[in-house]
């Protein structure tokens, strides 16, 4: 993990993708840690009783993973804003792909805007969003 300075970032840069198998265990561990130990996030049968096809990942877990996408791209990037829309339920166990691009740079503020999203193997985007990051500058 290396610090990426504002001067080294370009509009169009791709954030290094994270491809992972999102397992039910991973989701359960998050749900318990985050005080969301509810059937819809931990148990298929319980989730079905709520009208869901099976246990789902909490939206904020997807959001946290997209924040991690940025953190792994650049540990020195300070997320000042992150917004996500949960378009489709995320049902583990499933392959997920966390992707993003730097879309805009602000030369005065030393900030950048990124598109971030989670898609499945078919390229369907389950979660989409954007993040604003403050970046360190070499001049500082």
């Amino acid at each position: 993990m290396k610090t990426i300075y504002f001067e080294d970032v370009e509009e169009g840069d791709e954030l290094p993708p994270i491809d992972m198998l999102l397992t039910k265990d991973f989701v359960r561990r998050y749900a318990r840690t985050a005080g969301m130990d509810f059937p819809r996030f931990t148990d298929d049968e319980g989730a079905r009783k709520e009208g869901l096809p099976g246990m789902i990942a909490p939206g904020v877990l997807s959001m946290g993973l997209l924040a991690r996408l940025i953190s792994e791209w650049n540990p020195a990037a300070q997320i000042t804003r992150i917004g996500t829309t949960f378009r489709s339920p995320v049902l583990p166990d499933c392959n997920i792909h966390l992707l993003g691009f730097v879309t805009q740079k602000d030369d005065e503020q030393h900030t950048a805007e990124c598109d971030i999203w989670m898609e499945n193997d078919d390229g369907e985007r389950w979660v989409i969003g954007t993040a604003a990051v403050a970046l360190p500058t070499k001049a500082a």
């Binding site: 993990m1 992972m20 991973f26 561990r29 998050y30 840690t33 985050a34 005080g35 969301m36 709520e50 009208g51 909490p58 939206g59 904020v60 877990l61 959001m63 946290g64 993973l65 924040a67 991690r68 953190s71 792994e72 540990p75 020195a76 300070q78 997320i79 000042t80 804003r81 992150i82 917004g83 996500t84 829309t85 949960f86 969003g129 360190p136």
Partner: protein
């Protein structure tokens, strides 16, 4: 507008919660649960050399704070089931071990649109989080979809 509700509920505070101090363990466990490897969130020694002078929580940590009332007591009901439609988080100051956080929750907005699952009613709840120094930590807008 095809649906109606008492607009005076917008902006009204429905919950104020003071949380017990955040521990180092809370932060480390949360980071681990996301698979985070950034030393700022996972390594106290390394984080001490970093820009914050110590361990800080990942930015979405504030979404794990569960206030006494997650939703208003007399939450408008436009549908039978509620789902998380999305979150917008603005982050001002990082959360550190020992922080004593306060959350104030309001109903920020209510609107309607149609989507894959039919007619959807969006209720936007806003959580404003401050710390023991009175500093703004974060503002989270939580879009609840009812259908």
């Amino acid at each position: 507008m095809a649906f109606d509700f008492d607009r005076s509920i917008l902006g009204q505070v429905f919950d104020e919660t003071d949380f017990p101090p955040i521990t180092k363990d809370d932060i480390l466990k949360f980071a681990e649960a996301l698979g985070e490897t950034n030393p700022l969130y996972t390594d106290e020694e390394a984080a001490a050399q970093g820009p914050y002078g110590g361990l800080v929580a990942p930015p979405t940590f504030v979404t794990r704070l569960r206030p006494q009332k997650m939703t208003p007591e007399h939450m408008p009901r436009f549908g039978k089931v509620g789902f998380d439609g999305g979150r917008d988080l603005e982050s001002f100051t990082p959360v550190r071990p020992g922080d004593v956080l306060k959350m104030v929750s309001t109903i920020h907005d209510i609107y309607e649109k149609t989507g894959r699952s039919g007619s959807m009613y969006f209720i936007v709840l806003r959580n404003e989080i401050t710390n023991q120094n009175g500093e703004k930590v974060a503002v989270v807008d939580h879009r609840i979809v009812q259908r």
